[in-house]
Symmetry: C2
Subunit: 196 residues, 2 copies
């Protein structure tokens, strides 16, 4: 992707995180990204195209920061936990991404065009998470009775639910992380190598 497009998409995430998707105007975005509105229309055709591409960009960025988990986790179960906790970090980048994702999901209720893009991203996330659950089972680090797809659907939906509470001020990020970590234990059973 051209640098200019990345700049525009990064600015779109910031604007959405700050004032909501319904507050996203092409003029405001142009000012934030320091480009002309014509350039935005050239690359993204219209507002709907821009919003769809922003959703894809947010998903890709989330994969980016979860890649860090892959390089640091010591085993498949630790990796699963770190991948999920990656979404609940109090850094500007994760917070922005997470608020913008929630905003786009909220908008999808009233926008059929966005629903399909969102459903696709959600499916990919669930599938990747289910693979991690199955890897943890294969390594002997998770209860074999757990159904990877069900567990993945629940843990990712819980990440979204906890994120919403975090961003709307009902929960601190530390409490959200502790609750998520407890959910992994409840779903997979305690680690067999963990002291009781």
């Amino acid at each position: 992707m051209a640098d200019r497009q990345v700049l525009i998409l990064e600015a779109a995430v910031r604007v959405i995180a700050r004032s909501g998707v319904r507050g996203l105007r092409v003029e405001e975005l142009a000012a934030e990204a320091d480009v002309s509105t014509a350039l935005i229309y050239y690359h993204f055709k219209d507002r709907a195209g821009l919003i769809r591409r922003t959703l894809d960009f947010i998903s890709a960025r989330a994969t980016g920061y979860t890649d860090e988990a892959h390089s640091s986790a010591q085993d498949p179960r630790a990796l699963l936990l770190q991948l999920l906790l990656g979404e609940l970090q109090d850094t500007a980048r994760v917070r922005e991404n997470s608020i913008a994702w929630g905003e786009l999901r909220a908008s999808a209720k009233f926008d059929d065009d966005l629903r399909e893009t969102l459903a696709r991203s959600t499916r990919t996330w669930c599938r990747d998470t289910a693979d991690s659950v199955a890897d943890a089972q294969a390594a002997g680090l998770a209860d074999l009775r757990a159904d990877p797809e069900d567990v993945a659907a629940r843990l990712t939906a819980l990440v979204e639910g906890l994120s919403e509470r975090w961003h709307s001020g009902s929960l601190t990020v530390e409490r959200a992380r502790a609750l998520l970590s407890g959910a992994v234990d409840a779903e997979l059973g305690r680690r067999p190598d963990e002291p009781v």
Copy 2:
């Protein structure tokens, strides 16, 4: 509460569920409720007051339809499950309530005034759910190692996460209900009286 106020609040939930909280205009609401805008301002002072009262109304209504669970559940664990599943029913009333609640939660990210009202409703819901978990434990129907507050925070956040996926078209309501039921089993352990 006066009948007229209830009518207005019911109409507000419908409008928010249909076009989002940012789409709620007092003129549109007046038309929906078939009252004058002056009457709305008389009862609710301003748009912020109206939105705050609508959030309280949604919480109260949710308590109303979960009251049905109290009359039909056979034991404390079944009651807990029915209370949670009460939020995931494909009826116009529950769907409207749930979409509007999600909308108000999403708006709270950008509206400090709403945050406190929302946090209060969320705390009440979590506390009631934690009481149900403790009741299930006292009846010997749930693992005593489960922490009622943690379990309640997770299950209610999961209800919100699953509701969002349901309303944004990533999940059917049947699948959401099955996932939620599985989460209760993962958190509390299987019922001791259930055949393996």
